[in-house]
Subunit: 349 residues, 4 copies
């Protein structure tokens, strides 16, 4: 059960609500976000929700049988829109492309990639400055200094920045130089980090863990939301399976599933999802038709010389062509569907 | 190494070729198919293929480092075309849709589905008469009698039949009532069955095993081909992973991979691949953009009453809309690519 | 629900039983085996089994909620004993060791291995004459001729033979030269083969499919049993996972699970389960403590020269030491447990 | 390549070593631990190590082709011993049992469990005070206050404490109340946390990630070691597979593999590994025979009332019996092997 409180819900109203919820056998948790105030009620008793609906201070009450409540589509039918500023909005109506190198290598690189993105109308740049690396002896990124020059050039050109945060202490450090925090696959269940990201008013792109179920992904999103931050983007990036022909197995089934279960926007990262340069474009276009709200892709001027992930990065010629094709595919999708794909498929589902 | 023999290669030429191949440290196997005669040479020595190219009776010699030789694209660049008769051809240029119920339930059902397919221009009907079922107490299909009425109504309407063969003895039984033999996921490495299907002159649609690697799928196709049958279609149908949110994990990465490695046409079965009715259409469209040459989908007049797989079958209204959308997506794909998707992505790959 | 019929149950009694079962909303299937006659009732209605227990011709009635009925421990508490002749019995009380080469290579090899087994008191020899190979160009075994000399030397020395059967037609061919049919991992859901093996009166060792769930393994065993053959042995041999450090992931959890759910004996194949020679012995001993009733292991006089699976075969020195250690471990296990391990752990479970 | 420096290696010697290493095409990293000083050299050139061995300040040079150097057995043949104080030592020669509840629930519980452990001679108690929970609304542990009373009662009775650390800031907080830091499966690749744990002089028990390869586990251990802490314990705790019959798939293959590849002690957690109470004991005994150096097990006075993981916790009667059986199994293992199991199996490996 999820209770939306009115703005003018006062302490007395609130205590009464909590007390009624408890008397019904539910455990209430208060949640305050940028946009609203909620009481999340966990329990399994059968309840006539009108008992609660009639209390003072309540805007609406929803039965949400899903394990994760705040991120569920059961109480919020429209896909969440996330404004990034400068008129750039992540939304169902407008597929977002995010591109950039795996690691930010140097300032010149940033300048050239920013130029490329601007020229091609791409509004979001990705790039890592804190790199999770299996071996302690590998290059681990340029850190905060890298982020500063990365952000500076993007901001000057109206391009938004998404970059990975790896630990609690970086949340504050990165805050002024970032538009979207990215949580990487290895931190998808780093609950302390998720708690902390729930306390800032910046969007968070949450990647699925390497072997996370989608229920776990939604529960991780619930962590961020229940700590106060509604601006969460889910991201499918390939899972670990027995198949060794490619780096990961991109699970596009996840897209219609997440779109049905949650109101959060869903991105796909075909670069990590397949890990082979020649297959990235077809998988990006497939992701569009599966219903993705955004794509995250690795590009590099000379992939062969990239400090990491060169095997899966498109060069700029390939990237330009891919952008065109993504847009044509989105245009087709828009012409086929008024609603989101999964809804259109089966109106009675 | 793969040697194509000339039609007029005589016994003496052939013995000479075999003897040279052996002297170079390779193990030769002769393969005779509907379309040609080959010597497959397994070994790892470095060889100057001109030594062989100059022998009598040889049409061409190819270095094929891939484990599976005959199905490799390294010696045959164009995607194989498989004519089904009546002008129907499985090919790169024309995406084939195959639809029908999981199990053939009765003759009336066949008549109605055939009518639907004809009306919608679908040239291939699927339907099982031998059903692999986990439990010995479940319905196991109508067998040969079912196949006969299934085939009769399809043939009368110019529709081709694809149906699962489960054991060696059925290959001959089914021969006169089938256009494409289907090998199911549980028989994908039933090597005796593959051997036998290599000896008939009818196409074989080979599904990927539930946890087969793509190398294993290609090796299974090589079994059929090396026994004499070049008409093999590969089919991705979802793999088994840890994720329990859907029946299987449809692995669309497999499509560009198989298209690059093999000249055989590649189908996708989104119905089994995801197993949830509302997600079948988006996954079908995604498969098109990933590069599929054909789609195999389950439909049923009243999915809720299907004897098997109702949860993943589209009803006829959904199927009609889906066919339209598939065709629009194919039209887009054709407009974006002159060549196959994976080739266009990276000309230097 | 599982009904055991009396020997003297006549036609009239039987018809009455079937009719009552149907009237209760259950679907009955008659099963006749070497040892008894049963009616398996599939359905989900709540039934007072005394209604059935009072009918004529009935020996006993059991509620068996498990999906697979005949192989369930819910109606048969003691582990099944399978006599092989000459006083050799597969049973809970006496761990059976089966050893031999992956492929039977030649008659001299058989003679030497038989000598080794006799000297070390090992009563079961394994060895493949029909080999499932991924590539059609690999050695596929000596076939029936190989089986004949394999069997001849074993029989002459009181050693029993277990060997893989790959297709229906081989069941009869192999019948006179075999003591236990082995169903390999790739045929674990080859239902036609299982049906056929249900019709012979020889034990069947059923390997778990490469990615079969244990429920599927039990359902495959139910196929054999429900066709008339109660002499089924289950075998864990490693599953396919993402881990590439070894050939398969030996799932020893399967042992206590299968021992609890089924009355069938459970074997473990540590050779395929790990696929690395140096790890085979510790995994064999671990399997004993996990509760295995038997072990199947690959040995070879010169593993480095084996035509297949040399990497996982013990040489004879290693095998001798391993046999001693297995026996010491079994002795410890017997001293710790009166009952099967899983029962002793938790009497109230 | 791994270079061990002498205690008296001075700055000049060191600079010379670094300079020679670089000139050979290797990238050197200095590592200083509690016990020694090393230069880790990453590269792939062929080198005659005598060139380095002759330099001043060098104790020994080892070719270590493994990806992870410091944790490799290639330079350190004996299993690392980790003293915990009060004469308690984790070592090859003496299997360590650690037991306790999943979560520390209250002080009375700690007192009773400590009493049980003391009575049964168990020297290590486990128990969580920071709990990683999928849902943000679940109980997340008593935190530092819980750890304090947990530690107080253990210390008073000569029992050592192992408890999970979830984030960097807790490393210092927990330092004075802990004997072994535990890194949970979800943090197995939380590289910042691993870095931090490398800077303290307390042992770290590192659990394998839910879907980590063993190479990744070793690389995570290398993070801790290369930051200065040699006291690392590896722990297998079950991996995620397609099988749903139990919570995880305990991968005992990992034990002989890790024992061969690394000199670090290897623990097994059968409680999480199988997740079913009745199967915990057989899997614990199997782990002993597979070669484990320690076992971590969940116990609870009334498992049915545990706040978490009751399904996999032994009650005290079961635990007492299990301890006895573990010790008998260890006694057998010691009598069979002079060396570690894997070495004894194949002296020429």
């Amino acid at each position: 059960m999820l209770i939306q409180l009115k703005d003018n819900c006062n302490d007395k109203d609130f205590q009464e609500i909590v007390s009624v919820v408890k008397s019904l056998g539910y455990k209430p948790s208060e949640v305050v976000t940028q946009y609203g105030r909620y009481v999340i009620c966990v329990g399994s008793a059968e309840v006539d929700i009108r008992i609660i609906g009639n209390l003072n201070g309540i805007k609406d009450v929803h039965v949400v049988a899903d394990q994760s409540k705040l991120v569920s589509r059961l109480w919020k039918v429209q896909t969440t829109e996330i404004p990034l500023g400068d008129g750039i909005v992540i939304s169902r109506d407008h597929l977002t492309i995010g591109m950039g190198p795996c690691s930010i290598e140097d300032e010149e690189q940033v300048i050239r990639i920013v130029g490329f993105l601007k020229e091609n109308g791409v509004a979001l740049m990705r790039g890592g400055v804190y790199k999770p690396r299996s071996s302690p002896y590998s290059f681990r990124g340029h850190g905060l200094e890298g982020l500063k020059f990365f952000y500076k050039h993007c901001q000057a050109n109206g391009i938004k920045v998404v970059s990975e945060v790896m630990q609690v202490s970086q949340v504050e450090e990165m805050h002024d130089y970032i538009d979207i925090y990215q949580v990487g696959t290895r931190n998808s269940q780093n609950f302390n980090l998720l708690d902390e990201l729930g306390k800032v008013n910046k969007p968070v792109l949450l990647k699925r863990g390497m072997s996370s179920t989608l229920q776990e992904l939604l529960a991780s999103a619930e962590y961020i939301f229940s700590n106060g931050n509604e601006k969460v983007i889910l991201c499918e990036r390939g899972i670990r399976t027995y198949e060794t022909a490619y780096r990961n197995t991109l699970d596009l089934n996840a897209v219609p599933y997440l779109k049905e279960k949650s109101h959060l926007p869903v991105f796909v990262d075909p670069s990590h999802g397949v890990g082979v340069r020649a297959y990235v474009e077809p998988m990006a276009l497939a992701a569009v038709m599966a219903g993705a709200d955004g794509l995250l892709m690795e590009i590099h001027e000379v992939p062969e010389r990239a400090v990491s992930d060169g095997d899966q990065s498109l060069n700029l010629t390939e990237a330009r062509r891919c952008i065109t094709r993504i847009r044509e595919t989105v245009r087709l999708r828009d012409s086929l569907y008024d609603l989101t794909p999964y809804q259109a498929t089966d109106p009675d589902h």
